[in-house]
């Protein structure tokens, strides 16, 4: 019934006391938010905590939230910030390396093209799908946090540069160079995992 309403209309209804409207918002974004967090955090307990905190934050901001502002990027901004906080706190108190922040300042699109041209990136036929998935998960998990975040937002969530800049609070130029760095990083690591230079 509420499916035809826009996010803004749902938020207005919720502000007026309609709890079902909020449930519709949760249903609308639960899967994309959850899959983003699963890929970004790779730890179920943190995923669940951040998922809940994100919607709690929306609840806390319901009176002040500008309903004309797109909700999806806002939710991802909150989720990304809380996820980064969770990782940093874990990093502070854990001996395990969670990946440093990578500097993406010097990477140009030419570097990306060169890297892509240098490697054979398809795994051999003997590698099973499960093994491929395991290798990819490993590379993503070990990626520096800022590169992992941008790759997931761009590839899986298909946010625009503008929205990614909002979500990550960085200029659009930095979004682009960071995405280039992330592609380079993944290509190099993927090649190393498969060890088959072109």
């Amino acid at each position: 019934m509420l499916e035809k309403y826009t996010d803004a209309e749902l938020l207005k209804r919720y502000r007026e006391g309609d709890e079902v409207a909020f449930r519709e918002i949760v249903d609308r974004y639960k899967n994309s938010l959850y899959s983003f967090l699963r890929r970004f955090l790779n730890r179920q307990d943190l995923v669940e905590d951040v998922f809940q905190e994100t919607f709690l934050q929306l609840f806390a901001s319901r009176e002040s939230f500008d309903v004309d502002r797109p909700l999806r990027p806002w939710l991802f901004t909150i989720a990304a910030n809380k996820a980064k906080d969770a990782l940093r706190k874990m990093q502070r108190h854990s001996s395990m390396s969670l990946g440093a922040i990578a500097d993406s300042g010097d990477v140009t699109v030419d570097d990306v093209v060169n890297i892509l041209s240098s490697y054979k990136t398809t795994p051999s036929d003997e590698v099973t799908k499960d093994e491929t998935a395991r290798r990819v998960r490993e590379i993503i998990a070990e990626m520096p946090e800022n590169l992992r975040g941008i790759l997931i937002l761009a590839y899986f969530e298909q946010f625009s540069y503008k929205h990614m800049a909002e979500i990550l609070s960085i200029p659009i130029g930095t979004v682009k160079s960071r995405l280039h760095t992330a592609v380079m990083h993944f290509t190099k690591k993927w090649n190393a995992a498969n060890r088959e230079p072109r």
Binding site: E53, F55, Y155
Partner: protein
């Protein structure tokens, strides 16, 4: 890629990710369609990044949605104060990663932790913890089936209260026994894995039950699946040397070095902790072979609280919830440099804390 300008390459990347504006995406589409080099670059991008699709899409579990909605309803019905409390709880949970969740004591420096009766403000702690537990339990009662986190928080608090009570029992025991901590002879090199026999891992804390320093229920963490408080009459209790099974004791008791000083005022650091996740096969199955540590065994926390951490009773009387099993660089569940356990090991170094 010689004929492609830097701008062309940028456009192809924008087109691939669909990140640019509509005009750029359309230009990228045209470029790939008309320029073979652009098509090759696009194909290489796809060839590489399509590997990402091997990570399966995972939909959000229903119970997480229910839990989230229940918490929001709870927050809405309880007003801003409740919400602020929930958010504060979440904040503290986050900050507590790897740290202790209870209030820090003045004895954070473990070296300074010397047990004195005056430090054990049990009545006060009991009152505070009971009040807190009551608030959380009432809150959980509103939406019990879905408020898993709240329920776990309540269990942690109850567990913490039980450890406080056991700590009080330890003090009274020590006061009656020349400052000695409970020690069933043979704890050091004997088979601590043989539950039911003197010298087992549970026979030392069993002395607290036997001597009426604590009740059978105090040895049970509510998060310990399958646990049951030991039930037996006074006469039978007097005859026994140990709990009947591991299910009667939800915690792990410290194994000290052989011949070490066992006075409560001398022993420092943890003395009781939520049950070790490492050695239960040794303690529950007589046929279990030696335990060899592996990555999983080295990284998991106690199962009592969903592998999210463990309550620890320190000899200074404090109870703290640790989200990791390391104290400094010391793993409290294993002996340093020992990888294979037969159930009779004890640490060689007094600084090496071991709670199997």
């Amino acid at each position: 890629m010689g004929s492609l300008s830097k701008e062309d390459k940028d456009i192809i990347l924008d087109f691939y990710f669909r990140c640019g504006d509509e005009e750029t995406i359309n230009r990228g589409r045209d470029l790939v369609a008309s320029n073979p080099e652009a098509a090759i670059l696009y194909a290489r991008l796809e060839e590489t990044l399509t590997q990402l699709d091997s990570i399966k899409y995972e939909p959000c579990p229903d119970n997480l949605v229910e839990l989230t909605v229940a918490r929001l309803k709870l927050a809405a019905s309880s007003g801003q104060t409740q919400l602020a409390a929930l958010l504060e709880l979440e904040r503290q949970k986050g900050e507590g990663l790897g740290e202790f969740e209870t209030e820090p004591t003045e004895t954070e420096d473990e070296d300074a932790a010397v047990l004195t009766s005056s430090k054990w403000a049990f009545s006060e702690n009991f009152f505070k913890l009971s009040s807190l537990a009551a608030v959380i339990l009432i809150t959980a009662g509103i939406a019990w089936p879905t408020l898993r986190n709240v329920r776990q928080a309540a269990w942690r608090i109850t567990c913490s209260r039980h450890l406080n009570t056991l700590g009080a029992g330890l003090v009274r025991y020590a006061a009656d026994n020349e400052d000695a901590i409970p020690y069933a002879a043979g704890t050091g090199g004997s088979q601590w894995a043989r539950i039911g026999e003197q010298g087992s891992i549970t026979s030392s804390p069993f002395l607290l039950l036997k001597g009426n320093y604590a009740d059978a229920e105090d040895f049970i963490c509510p998060g310990h699946s399958g646990a049951t408080a030991m039930k037996c009459g006074t006469e039978e209790l007097a005859r026994l040397q140990d709990f009947a099974s591991r299910a009667n004791f939800s915690y792990s008791f410290r194994v000290l070095c052989e011949n070490s000083d066992r006075r409560l005022s001398v022993v420092r650091g943890p003395i009781l902790v939520d049950m070790s996740p490492v050695f239960q096969p040794l303690c529950t199955k007589s046929s279990a072979g030696p335990i060899e540590l592996n990555e999983d065994l080295l990284n998991c926390c106690s199962n009592n609280h969903g592998c999210r951490g463990q309550n620890v009773l320190f000899t200074d009387g404090s109870v703290k919830f640790m989200k990791v099993r390391l104290l400094g660089d010391d793993d409290i569940f294993t002996i340093r440099d020992v990888k294979i356990y037969f159930g009779n090991e004890s640490p060689r170094d007094p600084q090496d804390i071991f709670l199997p």
